[in-house]
Amino acid sequence: MKKYDRVGRRIAFAAAGPAIALVAAVALTSVVLLVSGKNPFEPYTVMFEQATFSDIQVLILNDAAGYYIGGLAVAIGFRMNLFNIGVEGQYRLAAMVTAVVGANVALPAALQLPMLILVAMLTGAFWAGIAGILKVTRGVSEVVSTIMLNSIATSVIGYFTLPSVFGVQVGNNKTTGEMAESGWFPGIDMGAAGEVYGFVFVAVALGIAYWVILNRTRFGFDLRATGASESAAAASGVDAKRMVFTAMLISGAVAGLAGMPILLGDTHTYSLSFPTSLGFTCITIALLGRNGPVGIAFAALLISWLDNASAELDYVGYDTEIAVIMQGLIVIAVVVSYEAVRRWRLRAQQRMVGEELAAGHTKPTAPGDPGDDDTEKEVAAR
């Protein structure tokens, strides 16, 4: 009974942060709508309605796959207090390199796909590893270096996609040429609704792996310990520098996969129209999902829904930017409400421990505790 109670409480606490944040974000968005003289509720009904159409559902799911993988990449860093803002550069660079390799190498699908995935991971890890090395050897903040590396990635991509290098001009779009068909990741045909990327399932598998590694392996424990208290982790035998570097590499490798759902499942080429700024959105997603694999999944679906359903707003006289405003408000609300809930929860737990101990105070103190009887004697004597 008591156990059940506690589980319920834990779920309530876990849900409280996101719930408060979302309610606040919706409320504030409505205020924005009101101020601009618009109906503060209609956009939501429009967007909810969109979510009932199967073709939109497929779009939401497909986009969510990339968001989810990117969110995991950010979360790995967050779990040990590393702020990998470079997911943006890592996934784009990885997508471009993979596209180039895929266009120029043609192995059988059984080899081609693993090879491409490996290339993407290595590229992402390499790009993040630069920031990792700088932090470990020179103490450069990963925030600064990854932001810089994002810019550099843009330039590198610009160079590689030049027609004189690997680029292929298609109309007025610069692409990297079409990838060999053996490197197309098979999807699930949903008929008129479109095709669900096969990479959606890879994303799910990554989420499971993320949970298992963090919670069930030694490495994961060390990583979480470092994030929770660097000094305690160091005293417990974690090599902090190696941990920082390893975590950056893994975060980058996962980030490298974030562009794969769309690259291997849809575009099959890297071009000027390849989606950008996914890496920044993923920071929101990791925050909103509280760095947990399930939370990130909900967050990825939510953001993907906002993205895909907001397109319709244009047709009924609202600005699609409402969704962008809402995403921004979610970030702010999340940061505030999570910290509030964290403190509130810690206090509640302390109180609970106090209450339970007070309730069980009749329990005789352990033998070998001479102080207790004496206290009573002294008090009585006074």
């Binding site: 035998g237 007070a358 008090v379």
Partner: protein, 519 residues
């Protein structure tokens, strides 16, 4: 000022229980008690920082309730914190008027008032000195002046002597006598019994959260006070028979470490601890103990020197290797180095031993074994009497003593060969203290070597087989715990004595001990 029946409950502990205290005008009233006895809580209640759950506070015969320190200040109560609350980059004048600009402005009037207060109580404060240029004792006088400036008639001093050297302590006591003579009352919180006896008019002893008696210095002794503090049965840390063997478990040779400014932090440290031996290291905090611990556990690398664990050179080995090879660690700051505060107890049980059974399984120990770790945590909670409703609560929700018991249980479970025990009973209640001592003695019988670092000299002397004194990064003296007294040890800790310390009554045979003098 009078307190009656004050009770304050906190999560996990009743911090104060039925406290009675009355402080008269023009007296110094000392409040003594062990670490964790509830002195700090009581003081916070007095100063309005905490609200009592029960009981009444009277000031000058009228019952009051404090909503915050501001109310307490209005009632003429002022507090001098142990950790000074001064802005280093401001002058004394600016620090004093900060927050009380309404009293006398920030200009000439304030300066006059400061000079007047400084003069009247003999504080000797220079209003225009920058606080960052002042020494500890001067800063403390600024704190006192700050409180007086705000019109305090009752001063609370929280362990004011902890940061002072003996001469400064004397000067402080002179100041306190001045205050007393002017009709102010002082509440003096301390656990240094000698000082308390010399300065206080009344002494109230607080133990396990309650006041157990009030005495006047003339009618008591340090021994009697100590007994009141810990209960009638003084648990003695004494180790009965020697278990020291000739097998070295840890050997440290010529360890040196230089701070950034070129100041030596560890200077030619050499010692050997054998199986079954407890080496007690005495020293005023900040004389190199932390650096020595860090070098031993592998958190910091010494500039030169060799560390051997059971004959193996571990000087360049990582912390994890050292811990796997059997170095146990009870850290001096358990929040920083011993626990993940927001993680559940069972995860804290894994901390530091993540590569060892029962926490991991599989051939190379890659996989965690949460259920085994949880089961073992339950065992530790039971065996070490950790007061907690369960093993899923975060470590932060336990009281300090229970956190410490968990850490001791964790380290002892892994049967270390060498244990670094830094203040193993700090903040722990008397019963648990005896229990921790028993655990250490037990393991010592089985061949554990221990480096014991403690500010509690009785604990050091009672538990150790060998005593060393560290002063400014050097091991300056050694002593036989069988005959040395805390006072003699104390004088070596301040650098007043060095060499081999011998008890006074056998002193004549050791005239060659350089620098040895009576405390």
């Amino acid at each position: 000022m009078a307190l009656a029946g004050i009770t304050k409950r906190f999560p996990g502990v009743v911090a104060n229980h039925d406290i009675h205290l009355s402080v008269h005008k023009g007296t110094v009233h000392a409040l003594v008690g062990e670490n964790g006895a509830g002195k700090s809580t009581l003081m916070k209640i007095l100063y309005g920082m905490q609200k009592p759950d029960e009981g009444t506070i009277e000031v000058d015969g009228t019952q009051v309730t404090f909503a915050g320190p501001a109310d307490a200040i209005d009632r003429g109560i002022g507090m001098v914190h142990q950790h000074f609350m001064l802005a280093d980059n401001l002058t004394v004048l600016e620090n004093v008027v900060l927050g009380s600009e309404k009293l006398a402005g920030i200009g000439a009037r304030a300066r006059r008032r400061i000079a007047e207060i400084s003069e009247r109580y003999g504080l000797g404060v220079r209003p225009d000195a920058l606080v960052e240029d002042l020494g500890v004792a001067d800063r403390q006088r600024v704190e006192i002046l700050k409180v007086l400036y705000r019109g305090a008639t009752t001063l609370i001093l929280d362990e004011p002597t902890a940061v002072l050297v003996p001469q400064e302590v004397d000067a402080l006591f002179d100041n306190l006598r001045e205050l007393k003579a002017e009709g102010l009352s002082v509440i003096f919180i301390s656990h240094k019994l000698g000082e308390v006896l010399s300065v206080a008019d009344h002494i109230t002893v607080i133990r396990r959260g309650t006041t157990v008696g009030t005495v006047v210095p003339a009618e008591t002794t340090t021994r009697r006070l100590a007994e009141l503090m810990v209960g009638s049965e003084l648990p003695t840390p004494e180790t009965a028979e020697s278990t020291v063997t000739d097998k070295p478990v840890i050997q440290v040779e010529e360890l040196r470490l230089t701070a950034d400014g070129g100041r030596p932090v560890l200077d030619d440290i050499s010692f050997t601890i054998h199986e079954g031996e407890i080496l007690g290291l005495a020293g005023v905090e900040g004389n190199g103990q932390t650096e020595l611990i860090d070098a031993l556990i592998g958190l910091d690398k010494a500039d030169s020197g060799v560390i051997r664990l059971a004959g193996d050179d571990i000087t360049d080995r990582a912390t994890r290797h050292r811990r796997e090879q059997g170095i146990g660690y009870i850290p001096e700051d358990r929040h920083r180095h011993g626990l993940l505060l927001e993680a559940p107890l069972w995860e804290n049980r894994i901390l530091g031993h993540v590569t060892e059974k029962p926490n991991t399984r599989g051939k190379r120990g890659i996989w965690l074994d949460p259920s085994a770790a949880q089961a073992d945590t339950r065992r530790i909670v039971e065996a070490y009497d950790v007061r907690t409703p369960g093993i899923d609560v975060p470590a932060a929700s336990l009281s300090g003593g229970n956190q410490q018991k968990l850490i001791v249980g964790r380290e002892m479970t892994h049967k270390p060969r060498f244990l670094i025990a830094a203040h193993p009973t700090r903040g722990v209640d008397v019963g648990a203290q005896a229990q921790i001592w028993d655990q250490i003695r037990e393991a010592r019988r089985e061949g554990l070597g221990v480096l014991l670092i403690s500010a509690d000299l009785d604990e050091l002397i009672g538990l150790s087989d060998t005593l060393r004194v560290i002063y400014r990064g050097r091991l300056v003296a050694d002593a036989d715990p069988g005959s040395i007294t805390p006072e003699e040890l104390g004088s070596a800790m301040t650098g007043a004595a060095s060499g081999h310390l011998v008890a006074d009554d056998t002193d004549e045979s050791a005239p060659d001990a350089p620098g040895k003098e009576g405390a």
